[in-house]
């Protein structure tokens, strides 16, 4: 290819196409998700190690806490559904609808974070903190890491939605942040059974 061809067609023509037939930003998000999944895996395995090695592991979750977790899970799974709606509407070129779905997803994410903090404060009122032994350390580390992901996701959604509404970003960007949001949902499906449901007070 001559220099003039490069000037006309750009360097992209010299590159190989993606073997996965997806944009590089989407592949990057997948790689990030995989690395994050392994991070959460390490946290959960460490929790499992300590949980099984301890003869008298506390079971602090009463029915009220479990009801709160049920509502939190319902909110998070519903936010994944609204995220799907946002991606689909964005791809279809229906920007107002995409924005409505994006803001619904953000609202549900914020509600999830508020319910999560309510659960934490309820534990604080019973003197269960990150300083109260191995249970507190593992519980607040894992749920805190997940909460950090939710809050980061809401901020990312806000940034993407703002720029998408101004035509600075494309529907592809909405889809990419959607992948992250669904991943946060998937992680919660492992956190709940391992951290909450196996520690119910009988």
């Amino acid at each position: 290819m001559s220099e003039s061809d490069v000037a006309v067609h750009g360097h992209g023509a010299l590159m190989e196409g993606s073997p996965y037939a997806i944009p590089s930003r989407k592949l990057t998000m997948w790689l990030f998700i995989i690395s994050d999944a392994v991070t959460f895996g390490a946290f959960l395995f460490a929790y499992g190690y300590i949980r099984f090695a301890a003869a008298n592991w506390p079971r602090p979750f009463e029915t009220g806490s479990i009801l709160n977790v049920i509502v939190m899970t319902f909110v998070l799974i519903t936010s994944s559904l609204t995220m799907l709606g946002a991606v689909d509407a964005a791809k279809a070129g229906d920007k107002p609808k995409a924005m409505r779905f994006l803001f619904s997803t953000m609202a549900l994410g914020a509600l999830f974070a508020a319910l999560h903090l309510r659960e934490w404060f309820e534990l604080f009122s019973r003197q269960i903190t990150i300083s109260s032994g191995l249970f507190g350390q593992t519980f607040f580390s894992i749920t805190g890491l997940h909460l950090l992901h939710v809050i980061s996701g809401v901020i990312a959604l806000l940034v993407i939605a703002t720029k998408y509404s101004r035509d600075t970003l494309t529907p592809g960007h909405v889809e990419t942040v959607g992948l992250y949001w669904h991943f946060v949902d998937l992680v919660w499906m492992f956190v709940v059974p391992l951290v909450y449901l196996t520690n119910i007070a009988h």
């Binding site: 999944a37 689909d88 499906m189 196996t198």
Partner: protein, 103 residues
């Protein structure tokens, strides 16, 4: 049908997956109130969580619709790394019974 009208159908398309995820979660909650041993309960809940995660991964994250090479690159490697982390369990059980290392 316009593109905007077609976009309304996507939620209907994914509603079965959504309700499946909710149903699996409610089954998990129900089982956790039954009197299983902790080990048995963890295994059952993990299997159900894996089923939920697979549904989310394949349909919500559209991995089922992507080129197969993406799936084959990402998922087996991740499962391999997560399986490698299982080497800790023997030591965890040893600590539970406070047994010394094998000579």
């Amino acid at each position: 049908m316009s593109a905007a009208a077609a976009s309304g159908n996507v939620l209907l398309k994914y509603l079965p997956v959504y309700f499946s995820l909710l149903a699996i979660f409610l089954v998990e909650v129900f089982l956790s109130f039954q009197h299983f041993s902790t080990g048995k309960l963890v295994v059952i809940l993990l299997l159900l969580a894996l089923a939920s995660a697979s549904l989310g991964l394949m349909y919500f994250m559209h991995l089922a619709e992507e080129r197969r090479s993406l799936f084959l690159t990402l998922i087996p490697a991740t499962i391999f790394v997560l399986l490698l982390m299982n080497m800790i369990w023997g030591d965890s059980v040893r600590l539970l019974h406070m047994k010394p290392f094998a000579q």
